[in-house]
Amino acid sequence: MSCIEQKKYKILLEKTTFKESREYIEKSSEEVYYVPPGYKIFNDYYVIGIPPIALGARDNALFFTYTKPCHGTFVLTIDDEESKKEIERLREMGKGKTTASSKKSKPLESSNKPTTSYQDIWKNKI
């Protein structure tokens, strides 16, 4: 799954939780698509995570999560011909799409969070 490390990517968010990464993608993308764990992008990278997994698109840039066991979850973006193709593939599937305008009314997931924030504890540890 480390083929992603060979590509030209930018790190948008690093060493955080999966939930926070999902929320970041939902807030920062023009289009959001939800895929199941194991969805393959860039020919050989399997996106893993806690369902639903968000993939975001802004112009030709694809936003996605990347989890490393010892370092947490990262949000990466790739903007090239391959990402353009991946976004087109997601658009064709069209499932679970939200647009920038529909996201405005979407409530945040904070209502389900436990009273003690594990995210804060974990972040402080790093």
Binding site: F18, P51, T67
Partner: protein
């Protein structure tokens, strides 16, 4: 259940008890007749290889990401999975396993913040929780009871 294929899925080996519990559980389940595979990150498998250089306790040692890839591509699967986790990334891997595999999933939650981490688990699994970092005995005892139920 004796013929079952079991996967022990190790995460980041930063918390010491993971290695000892993985070796213990692998050996115990193997002795009970189960087919045990231990998957881990590069560092986690190296720790196991050095601790168990003859492969006496862990017979099958494989790469974690390759194992998930094989399950996603339906080249392999398991009946039971024990997923070790002491951080959010470990939980992310376990949730993935819960979604891609037909295995009965046991989440082994440990480390200083085990209780808090366990509360955030939203996927279907049986939780085995111990706030333990260096002393594996509490977790070992809990796992003994779980294994007893599995082989009943």
């Amino acid at each position: 259940m004796i013929d079952a294929k079991v996967l022990l899925m190790m995460g980041c080996p930063e918390v010491p008890i993971q290695t000892s519990i993985a070796l213990y559980l692998s050996h115990k389940l193997t002795n009970l007749g189960l087919d045990v595979t231990v998957a881990g990150t590069d560092a986690a498998t190296k720790l196991l290889k050095v601790s168990d250089s003859d492969g006496y306790y862990a017979k099958k040692l494989v790469d974690l990401d390759k194992t998930l890839e094989d399950i996603i591509e339906k080249r392999n699967d398991f009946d039971i999975c024990f997923a070790f986790m002491h951080n959010d990334a470990g939980m992310t891997y376990a949730a993935t396993m819960g979604a891609i595999s037909q295995a009965k999933l046991y989440s082994i939650v440990f480390g200083r913040h085990a209780e808090t981490l366990a509360e955030t688990i939203e996927f279907d699994c049986e939780k085995i929780v111990a706030t333990a970092v260096h002393n594996p005995v509490q977790l070992k005892n809990k796992l003994d009871r779980v294994v007893e139920e599995i082989v009943k």
